[in-house]
């Protein structure tokens, strides 16, 4: 099976994330890493490869669209066990929104060729729109099975379980397809020492927009489909009242507070 896993490079959520003066996310001033939620996608891609084992050799390609430093995200996926890396980097891509990003990803997936399975995370930890998998499915004209917490397959028949808003569902489709998985799908493996060494020798392609035949005018900040007009740091919350509970005093104070705010 030919498996492509889409991994995003994001600013560290535990660092102080902020915006640039042009209202784009500052991706240089904040340490970045492979989006935690995409580690689950890499894990599931590797598990599918391992389970498909007998049916012939599978190849897992980790694909990332992002700035120069984003090569780290691809490298991490290779260390975890992906076979090949593809990094699409081009100054013209900076500031792209989900529509443009999905376009570049889709073209890269076509160039990688004959994907049976495109695996994504449930959401990126920075933008967090959870729309790129659906957009990829649309652009590649593939079925989408998204937000899987359990992934099963037999041959080219895939099934996932997902916890929807009003029901737990089993969703099925025939490969080729786009799959996205949640953080409930199973712990992601850590790169082993052997994995880290092996990653250095794995094929790694770096592509620009021209390699993909995408015109620079179709992507990037200036041609985005949406524009951020302003950003504002949330005012720090004013320090609240904190009481220590002693012999029931805490509960009493709590109820008084609720009553004063008319919640009871």
């Amino acid at each position: 099976m030919n498996i492509v896993v889409c991994v995003k490079y994001v600013p560290d959520a535990t660092a102080d994330r902020h915006f640039e003066s042009d209202n784009t996310v500052d991706r240089d001033g904040v340490p970045g890493l492979l989006s935690e939620l995409d580690e689950y996608a890499v894990e599931q891609a590797l598990q599918v490869k391992e389970k498909a084992g007998e049916a012939g050799e599978s190849v897992v390609t980790a694909l990332c669209v992002g700035p120069a430093a984003a090569a780290d995200a691809v490298r991490k996926a290779l260390q975890m066990g992906a076979d090949k890396g593809v990094h699409v980097v081009d100054d013209a891509i900076a500031g792209s929104d989900a529509l443009a990003t999905s376009k570049v990803l889709a073209e890269a997936i076509k160039k990688i060729g004959d994907a049976d399975l495109v695996v994504c995370g449930m959401s990126s930890t920075d933008g967090g729109m959870s729309v790129v998998p659906a957009m990829l499915a649309e652009r590649l004209d593939l079925p989408q099975v998204t937000m899987g917490s359990v992934v099963e397959f037999q041959g080219d028949q895939f099934r996932i379980k997902r916890d929807g808003d009003s029901a737990t569902e089993v969703i099925g489709a025939t490969a080729p397809l786009v799959l996205s998985v949640t953080d409930q799908s199973g712990e992601a493996r850590y790169p082993s020492f052997k994995g880290i060494m092996a990653a250095k020798k794995k094929p790694f392609d770096t592509w620009s927009l021209s390699d993909l035949g995408v015109d620079a005018s179709e992507v990037g900040l200036s041609s985005a489909w949406t524009a951020v007009e302003g950003t504002e740091a949330r005012p720090p919350r004013t320090a609240g009242e904190i009481v220590k509970d002693e012999d029931g005093s805490g509960a009493k104070a709590l109820v008084e507070f609720l009553a004063s705010k008319k919640f009871i």
Binding site: G128, Q144, I171, W225
Partner: protein, 317 residues
Amino acid sequence: MSEVLVLVDHVDGAVRKPTYELLTIAKRLGEPSAVFIGGPDKAEAVAEAVKKYGAEKVYAVDDADIKGFLVAPKAEVLQQLVEKVSPAAVLLTASAEGKEIAGRLAVKIDSGLITDAVDVQAGPVTTQSVFAGNYTVQAKVTKGTPIIAVKPNAAAPEESAGAGAVEQFAATISDSAKKAQIVASQPREATGRPELTEAAIVVAGGRGTGGNFDEVENFADSLGAAVGASRAAVDSGWKPHAFQIGQTGKTVSPQLYVANGISGAIQHRAGMQTSKTIIAVNKDEEAPMFELVDFGVVGDLHTVLPTATEEINKRKG
């Protein structure tokens, strides 16, 4: 005035509250038209419901052919309606499904998409809350027909009489939209409590509950609140994933949020930081959750909550 398409969020014809919020927002942008994809026998009842919130038209799309095929057919329906009526905007709820329909539609009609709006004003100009609620962002769609997925509670539903004229719309659904299918579905058990994302008050429990949610639930019931949980509580199997609040769970923005035995990790904050009033009960006074609160009790939830519940129930008489 141009029409504004609102995709009706419903369960078997029962309209969900976020739809009324969308209609209220749609009135700021143009003339609200509801799009109901569902059983033809439900269309009249849906029209009755949505016209109270200003829907002038109701496009009824029979779902007999597309039921169980997830989001792709719905995106095709909306695409065809957009082509027919050239709306000023398309509004959907920012649920997982709503966002995926929106994503596919955006590609189809080559239009900008904004998700997770917490406010929408004329323009349309949207407000979003990003980076775990640490920033708010104002944005605009600059190409095509604005497609906006709006979070529950982004507007208070305002009643306003609309004509609610039902118009049957026959969409043509391609075969390729019918490739992913729901093969089994287990409806969630009703809890009798308000819907988590719609509730005015949310009471949540974390690892500090030690697995016994009774105290949290009784306290929630005394306030008529919905019950939520941290990921630690969900991962421990104490509550199903549908209860999880945070980055990989639900985002809630109620009038009041009460965190019990929850430390306040950034991923949890991402799902509740925009709540209007925040209360925490935690025995560790250093818990980061206390940085967010309007009111906090340093104490054991196993004693604080039952006492508070009893007192509230007494006051209610």
